[in-house]
Amino acid sequence: MDDQLLEPSLYTVKGMVILDNDGNRILAKYYDKNVFPTSKEQKAFEKNLFNKTHRANTEIIMLDGLTCVYKSNVDLFFYVMGSSRENELILMSVLNCLYDSISQILRKNVEKRAVLDSLDIVMLAMDEICDNGIILDADASSVVTRVALRTDDIPLGEQTVAQVIQSAKEQLKWSLLK
């Protein structure tokens, strides 16, 4: 069972979870129908996972037959789960991508408040990293370009002249239509 090699498959990630510092779920995705099929089991697992990991920041743990790699910052905990036979380093690369892309999206301000404020973008980023268990992209900067930050989210000083004019035009157009 444990000694067997893994069947060659792209379905690597069993789940990705972001919890806050009380162990409550902010976002969670589970990709394998056989792993925690109901919301109740998922929550129980998350509670257990949080209890085991929130004190010692040691990056990796095995729980309920899954290998879980994790990372925390201020009041957030990021987890990526895979089969117990999965290459731990692949899971680690997914976790790093998740963390780094969120950090770029939030301009290094990785906190609960910031994540909730940009929850839509964070959701899109998670969707771009992993599609139903298959790693879609593991390069943080490429993920960030794909989720397409709102141009007006970038401070005015960093926008190009063309962008400013474009957004001004749009605003004018909508105000006229109203």
């Binding site: 792209l10 599609d131 139903n132």
Partner: protein, 876 residues
């Protein structure tokens, strides 16, 4: 002021979580805003995020709610806001399993996926594929093929990944799109390469030849994507597992140990270690790579390395000794999982002198690790006890300390199992082990475990030095526990009373108190045991206190037969085969637990069921139950045209030979297949049941019923056999035979031996008191024979002698006498069993080893003098 207070409270509560305390119905109400024109992207995006958040929190939407939200959402396709559009895709994916009529958005998505906006296209493909069903697949196939070979890596990846998801709808999707995937494999983008490789493997995985070709082609070009390289290693390993001797693939995996990405290096090392076929020479480079990883700064890398080393240590402990120094450093690792794995690895590879020190180290943090790892530690200790029996005192103390700690059933059961195993393997540890277990049941919340330990106490306690000390522990259970534990405790008490006459009067007092118990089962047991034990003490009561484990279905059938007979003779219980003791498969390392279901029926019972299906055998079956079924004997080589295997079923007076035949010629149909035998002297063929039709690759069975000879000495014989049949040529593809008449043919099979073991079986009571039964045999008029043998040159150890003797005679070793102490030069093997027809047989073999030659003095007692003679004569 008031509002300020509330704000502050909120701040503390959830950091002002804007999504807290949302109502599902209100949020769904807000979704009406989606219908406004023009669409306000900001506002709508916020509402949509709220819906997605609710679903993500595990909120259940009803079908109507979901469908309404879904249709409102489709209105948002009017807006050209990128974020909003992308959120709509997410919403489609989330709602499509619940909502109805989701295919309504197909055209919008198809438009997006073929449009100009690259940011839409990839995500639109993925959303589209989640709502696609088999019927729609045709319509989008052309677009998908184009998308796979698209310039944009995002689009190409999305299409490849989606096609993998779609294989669950239509199995051959990957094969149909393999050409496009092949083209995508040459992409510069690493992720596209990886996804294309996944699709290509999916397309070809059923065709081994094609996979071999794919792998050998790709191993020559080096993969730029580390993920793809990992995938390729896995594919190569799968091929290696199926066929051996492909040096090229092994070289490829070994060469990956020098890859520049750590991920690939680890994957290759992991694969080499787990392949199971690797020799020490091949393992050496993998182990030195893992050794390097042990010193890494990244916990995940250390964890991966030490976990893999732990696995190697089980199969090749010597190979890991080189890493001992690095592993020692990891004992103090802040990650407890790494420390545990390091210690258990060291325990496997280390020397006896380091055990004490390592145990002290574990004790410092055992309470901090998860149950899964505690079980790993317990298993390591179990292996250690076998390796260094002299260390049992230290290890036992440690185990008992672990027993006292908090822990789940699985963990506690693992400890109890280990203590029991240590006790069995080492008689010195028995007293200490029993004491620890007694202490444990004083405070054990797991009923099943308490019952097991009580059972064990009843079995082992009476033979210990001071049986009386256990009575108090057991009787405490009667006072304090629930019904099933009380019942087990009553049985354990009765066993003490039966085995230790001095304790009898005291225990009878205790048992009579138990007769007032509130539970039926406990009362019944107590009354039963009181009644038996109050009779005069004699050794035969022991078997009543400790009833043999009979196979229940067979007992039921025999009793049914007996009731329908005139019932003139007393019912003979010795005819009933013993129940199979289910041995748990020893799992080497439990990390992901998956217990396989085992059939509760014994071999005899399954065969009994099967034979009962054959109407012609009813005559034999009604006379006596099936006594014993032999293991399968092959009468042909496995590669021949016809395969014949035989199982010998012994009844009281009949021998049923079951021949399982297989025709491996696709152009032949066999009819009227029978196995002709030449009955040896004394045997009589009662009848044959031919197999009427034996088509290609379909197993068929034919039976031959023989009557055993009167003289038991003649029953051991060699039977020449021949397969006879009518062969007809047939069409290999359809299996329809040609019209013409077939021809008779025959095929020589190997000789079949009927041995003593076929007619003998154990009694299925491990705990029986052999000496009492042996002495009782003398008074019951058993005849005794004694003879001395020098065993053949093939037997050079006592263990070998015990094994071959047990196998040859078909008797069962009692009182665990089949375990030979290490370094012993003499051993006494005690055997018990029943010969067909219910004749009891007891045997005592004294073995002595001198100059690697085993001498044996065998004494046999049996109720039938002929059987005793048969046993001694068949050994010579």
């Amino acid at each position: 002021m008031n509002s300020f207070k509330r704000d502050k409270k909120e701040e503390e509560d959830g950091g002002g979580n804007p999504f807290q305390n949302m109502e599902k119905t209100t949020v769904l109400q807000e979704a009406r805003t989606f219908n406004d024109t023009p669409v306000n992207p900001r506002k709508c995006a916020h509402i949509l995020t709220k819906i997605l958040y609710l679903i993500n929190q595990g909120e259940q939407l009803g079908t109507t709610e979901a469908t309404e939200a879904f249709f409102a959402m489709t209105k948002l396709f009017q807006s050209r806001d990128v974020i909003l559009r992308r959120l709509v895709y997410l919403g489609i994916k989330e709602l499509s399993p619940i909502a109805e009529d989701v295919i309504i958005v197909t055209s919008s998505l198809t438009k997006d996926m073929t449009g100009k906006e690259d940011l839409y296209r990839a995500a639109a493909i993925r959303a589209l594929c989640t709502i696609t069903d088999g019927a729609m697949l045709q319509a989008i196939e052309r677009y998908m093929k184009q998308a796979i070979v698209d310039r944009s890596p995002a689009v190409s990846s999305a299409a490849l990944v989606s096609s993998l998801h779609l294989t669950s709808i239509s199995g051959d999707i990957a094969r149909r799109w393999a050409n496009e995937a092949q083209e995508a494999l040459n992409s510069d983008n690493v992720m596209v390469q990886y996804h294309a490789l996944g699709v290509l493997y999916q397309a070809r995985k059923t065709d081994k030849h094609a996979v071999t070709k794919l792998v050998s082609k790709l191993t020559r070009t080096s993969m730029t994507s580390p993920y793809a390289a990992c995938m390729l290693i896995r594919m190569a390993c799968k091929l290696l597992e199926e066929e051996d001797g492909n040096g090229e693939l092994l070289d490829f995996v070994a060469s990956c140990l020098r890859h520049k990405s750590e991920m690939v290096v680890y994957e290759a090392a992991h694969a080499l270690v787990n392949m199971g076929k690797s020799s020490t020479r091949e393992l050496a480079p993998a182990i030195s790579v893992l050794q390097l990883f042990c010193g890494s700064l990244k916990p995940a890398l250390r964890f991966a390395a030490v976990r893999t080393l732990n696995k190697v240590a089980m199969s090749h402990p010597a190979a890991v000794t080189a890493c001992n120094l690095d592993l020692e450093n990891l004992i103090a690792d802040p990650n407890r999982s790494i420390a545990t794995l390091a210690i258990t690895t060291l325990l496997k590879t280390g020397a006896e002198s380091s055990v004490d020190r390592l145990m002290k180290q574990i004790a410092t943090f055992v309470s901090e690790i998860s149950d899964e790892f505690k079980v790993v530690v317990v298993q390591a200790i179990r292996a250690l006890c076998q390796k260094f029996p002299r260390k049992h005192a230290v290890l036992m103390n440690f185990l008992s300390a672990m027993l006292r700690d908090e822990g789940g059933l699985e963990y506690k059961a693992a400890i109890a199992d280990t203590i029991i195993a240590v006790m069995e393997g080492n008689s010195e540890a028995k007293e200490a082990g029993l004491a620890h277990l007694c202490e444990f049941i004083e405070d054990c919340e797991h009923i099943s475990l308490a019952v097991r330990i009580l059972h064990l106490l009843g079995q082992e306690g009476p033979t210990s030095k001071q049986p009386s000390r256990y009575i108090r522990f057991i009787y405490n259970r009667v006072i304090l526990e629930c019904a099933s534990v009380r019942a087990a405790a009553v049985t354990a008490l009765a066993r003490f009373a039966a085995a230790c006459p001095p304790l009898l009067p005291n225990i009878l007092v205790l048992l009579s108190r138990c007769q007032l118990d509130s539970d039926d089962e406990v009362r019944d047991r107590a009354a039963y045991y009181c009644a038996i034990l109050q009779q005069q003490f004699d050794p035969t009561t022991l078997s009543l206190v400790q009833p043999p484990l009979l196979s229940i279905p067979s007992l039921e059938r025999a009793l049914n037969n007996y009731v329908s007979s005139p019932m003139e003779e007393p019912f003979d219980i010795s005819q009933i085969p013993p129940a199979q003791t289910v041995e748990e498969p020893t799992q080497p390392e439990i990390l992901a637990t998956a217990k396989q279901q085992q059939s509760r029926l014994s071999r005899e019972e399954t065969f009994m069921e099967k034979l009962a299906q054959v109407p012609q055998l009813a005559l034999v079956m009604s006379k006596s139950p099936l006594f014993k079924s032999s293991p399968v004997v092959e009468l042909t080589e496995s590669e021949t045209e016809y395969n014949v295997k035989c199982v010998k079923h012994s009844f009281s007076n009949h021998l049923v030979l079951q021949f399982d035949c297989l025709n491996t010629l696709s152009d032949q149909l066999l009819e009227d297949v029978r196995v002709a035998i030449e009955p040896p002297e004394g045997y009589r063929v009662v009848y044959e049941i031919p197999c009427l039709r034996l088509a290609y690759n379909e197993p068929g069975t034919t039976y031959t019923v023989l009557e055993f000879p009167e003289d038991v000495h003649a029953s051991i014989a060699t039977i020449p056999t021949t397969l006879r049949f009518m062969a007809r040529d047939c069409d290999p593809t359809t299996g329809v035979p040609d019209a013409e008449q077939g021809y008779r043919d025959e095929y020589m099979l190997e000789d079949l031996e009927v041995t003593l073991a076929d007619q003998m079986r154990g009694v299925g009571k491990q705990g029986v008191d052999f000496n009492a039964a042996w002495d009782a045999g003398a008074t019951r008029g058993f005849s005794e024979l004694e003879e001395t043998f020098v065993l053949g040159a093939s037997v050079t150890t006592l263990e070998g002698a015990v094994q071959s003797l047990v196998g040859f005679l078909g008797l069962e070793a009692v009182e665990r006498s089949h375990r030979v102490a290490t370094d012993a030069v003499g051993h006494t093997l005690l055997l018990g069993g029943i010969f067909r027809g219910g004749k009891e047989v007891l045997a005592r073999a004294r073995l002595a080893l001198a100059d690697s030659q085993v001498t044996m003095q065998l004494s046999v007692r049996s109720s039938d003098p002929d059987v005793a003679e048969l046993v001694t004569s068949s050994v010579g």
